[in-house]
């Protein structure tokens, strides 16, 4: 049976800094040859690799000038079974590497080194930076297993089946190698291409980590990385990806505006400025980056674009003798900026989707709101009814209704669902529907509230919502009011023989608080001409720009002065809406508000308005009035 194929997850790497002299360059070439020999590279190949490192290292020494003569070049070898990569970092002024160097004449003494490198290796690149350049030389290797290595005995030739098995194994291995080659993005451009692909991915995923960040490590010859993203509240840096589990442990708390950052990554996030670090220069035991080792060093970059911080990335090496060079710094900075742009792009797309969803929700909410308020209110003989409604939001939980029971009596109802937005409106719609059904069987406000509570209790309590409501039965013939209240604010009316406005405050728990609740009722007689006002607390709690609330006293006074004989409900309602808006001025609306007015106008034939077809225009912050069918008669 064939041995399982084990592949290294990362290249075996040797990295050597050397003194800028030819003897050290020579020693480095020998060390790299030895390293590659230890990896099992055949003797005949070793000569080529030694030659390339030698040529590059010699150039790094010979062409260094001035201050650069004191800087150490670095030679590296990265080995995988399918590829050998050699790199030499120099501090020379650099040169332009031609695409293809032609063979120099044997009669000249120049240009042989680079020619030899290009002849021997498959790919040669020269990455030029500021005072630092990297010559990258790659050679692809094809596994050429010998008979002995393949486990075949030359003296005992195998069967055709064995050959076929061997062939299929080789073919599988080749396709794995091809796959690996395909996946390994080894140039900056392919990293960015990768990035663009990943731009479509919502979050930092496993494939992100595996492909992009490992590529970044390869590109910069770094050993480790930690990618942190800013939490949605902007207070913490959360680990999104790290090269090893130890680095992924800590979440970093960001200080308040004037606070001192607790660690390097926090300070980079606060200043939005990249920062190099070296653990040998700091002894702070609480520093999260100490996890990379006492000699670890590297660069921490903010992920930011256009002034928006999205996270940080830290990349570095475990051994401070080989700090990241400027070229690597540039690669990491560019990468960080690109990542920030990608992340912001994704967020922008998400925001657009969210806005669409919100717009759709509002559309739905407005449709609900149309259903919530009655399109028409009943107008009975000598009496008119009008209601006003204003919401602090696009959709509110305050509503009212008036139901004509016959030509001499009607039910007035007003309610306030505790909670805002669509859920509140949905409860309001449900309650209104229930009330219409219940009113066909009973006109007793106490009974109606008890029934509504019983029917709504389960749903309301399951979402911790409740409704305050008030139902008033008005008998126009006897002028008798019968009212019950479920935790609602008082109602105001004119009593017989009195000029002042009376208040009826009735006890009762809101709907949805207790499963079985009795609602006591109160009765009173209306004076003449009658005026009755039901409202929600948003109306009396309304504040003016100075912060003063409108209040019951002010409301009652206004009612006494304005619900005067000769005015219909619509007119009184319009005046009240104007009064309330005048009082509020520029102040924001803090709560929804609704009110329902019944006034006695004079004599006339009782009639119930048919359901109107007019749609109610919805405008935020202004009162909505359902149409009152038929012009009320004046007395």
């Amino acid at each position: 049976m064939a041995a399982p194929l084990l592949e290294p997850a990362r290249p075996a790497t040797l990295r050597l800094a050397f003194a800028p002299d030819l003897a050290s360059a020579r020693a480095v070439s020998i060390a790299i040859r030895t390293f590659l020999a230890e990896q099992g590279v055949a003797e005949k190949e070793l000569f080529s690799y030694e030659l390339c490192i030698s040529e590059a290292s010699n150039n790094a020494v010979e062409y260094a000038e001035g201050y650069a003569k004191s800087l150490k070049p670095v030679a590296e070898a990265l080995f995988t079974p399918s590829q050998i990569e050699l790199r030499v970092t120099d501090h020379t002024a650099g040169f332009d590497l031609p695409e293809k160097i032609t063979a120099p004449s044997p009669l000249t003494d120049r240009g042989r080194g680079l020619f030899l490198i290009q002849s021997v290796m498959d790919e040669v690149r020269y990455l030029r930076g500021t005072k630092e350049n990297i010559l990258v030389m790659r050679k692809k290797r094809r596994a050429a297993p010998t008979l002995a290595a393949s486990g075949l005995d030359p003296f005992n030739l195998p069967s055709i089946e064995k050959y076929q098995q061997h062939l299929s194994e080789s073919s599988a291995q080749m396709s794995r190698m091809a796959e690996e080659l395909k996946l390994r993005s080894e140039t900056l451009s392919s990293v960015f291409r990768c990035c663009a692909e990943l731009g479509r991915i919502d979050k930092v995923s496993e494939s992100f980590e595996k492909r992009l960040l490992v590529d970044l490590l390869h590109l910069t010859s770094a050993d480790w990385y930690v990618l942190r993203m800013l939490s949605t509240d902007g207070r913490r840096l959360l680990v999104a990806a790290a090269s090893e589990p130890d680095l992924a442990k800590e979440t970093i708390e960001l200080p308040a505006v004037d606070g001192k950052p607790a660690c390097i990554e926090a300070s980079v996030a606060a200043s939005v400025t990249a920062r190099r670090f070296d653990n040998r220069e700091s002894s702070d035991p609480s520093e999260p980056l100490r996890t990379v080792g006492p000699e670890g060093a590297g660069l921490v970059c903010p992920l930011s674009f256009g002034g928006t911080l999205v996270g940080t990335i830290a990349v570095g090496r475990r051994n401070g003798d080989f700090p990241l060079g400027r070229l690597q710094d540039e690669v990491i900075r560019t990468f960080a900026e690109f990542l920030a742009i990608q992340t912001l792009n994704i967020r922008h797309q998400k925001d657009e989707v969210r806005n669409l969803v919100i717009a759709r929700e509002l559309e739905i909410a407005q449709t609900i709101q149309h259903l919530l308020l009655p399109r028409t209110l009943p107008q009975l003989s000598g009496f008119s009814v009008a209601g006003g409604w204003q919401s602090a939001r696009e959709v509110g939980g305050d509503f009212y209704d008036a139901i004509a029971l016959d030509d001499q009596s009607l039910l007035l109802m007003i309610a306030d669902v505790m909670g805002k937005g669509v859920p509140a409106a949905l409860f309001a719609t449900t309650m209104r529907g229930l009330l219409l059904g219940l009113a066909a069987r009973s006109s007793d406000p106490s009974q109606l509230l008890s029934s509504l509570n019983r029917l709504l209790y389960k749903e309301l309590s399951s979402v911790s919502m409740f409704i305050t409501a008030q139902i008033v039965h008005v008998d126009l013939k006897t002028r008798k009011l019968t009212a019950a209240s479920a935790g609602h604010c008082p109602l105001h009316f004119v009593q017989p023989g009195r000029r002042s406005i009376s208040t009826m405050q009735i006890k009762g728990l809101p709907l949805g608080v207790m499963p079985d609740t009795e609602y006591p009722h109160m009765t009173a007689l209306m004076g003449s001409p009658a005026a009755l006002l039901l409202y929600t607390d948003g109306l009396v709690d309304r504040r003016n720009p100075a912060g003063k609330i409108y209040g019951q006293t002010r409301l009652k006074t206004w009612l006494r002065l304005n619900a005067t004989p000769g005015r219909g409900a619509t007119e009184v309602r319009d005046l009240l809406a104007t009064e309330l808006n005048r009082f509020r001025g520029d102040a924001d609306m803090s709560d929804d508000q609704a009110f329902l007015i019944l006034v006695e106008e004079g004599t006339g034939s009782a009639r119930v308005a048919p359901a109107g077809k007019r749609r109610i225009p919805l405008r935020r912050g202004s009162f909505l009035f359902p149409s009152t069918a038929g012009a009320p008669a004046t007395s």
Partner: protein, 101 residues
Amino acid sequence: MKIENQGECLSISEIHELTAQNSAIFRDEVQAALSGSPAVIEINLSKTRFMDSSGLGALFALYRATAKRHGVILRLLNPMPEIQQLLELTQMQQLFEIVRR
């Protein structure tokens, strides 16, 4: 490195490597030995395990100083296959007699 003057033949051997590090020494020492005006220079490469472009440069300098100007025969003895390939790659095998014995 060993340099022997055997009458008309200057024999150079025991070269373990010819690189940027030692090519200048190689040049100087061989130059010094040229005072006897040899007709043939034999460089025994059988022990030369490694050579880089500076080593090739040193050989080229020798060619220029002797064969090109004075018709001296330059002979490379028993180079390892890798060194032979290197000479072929750079077309320098044209400048030398490469001999196996």
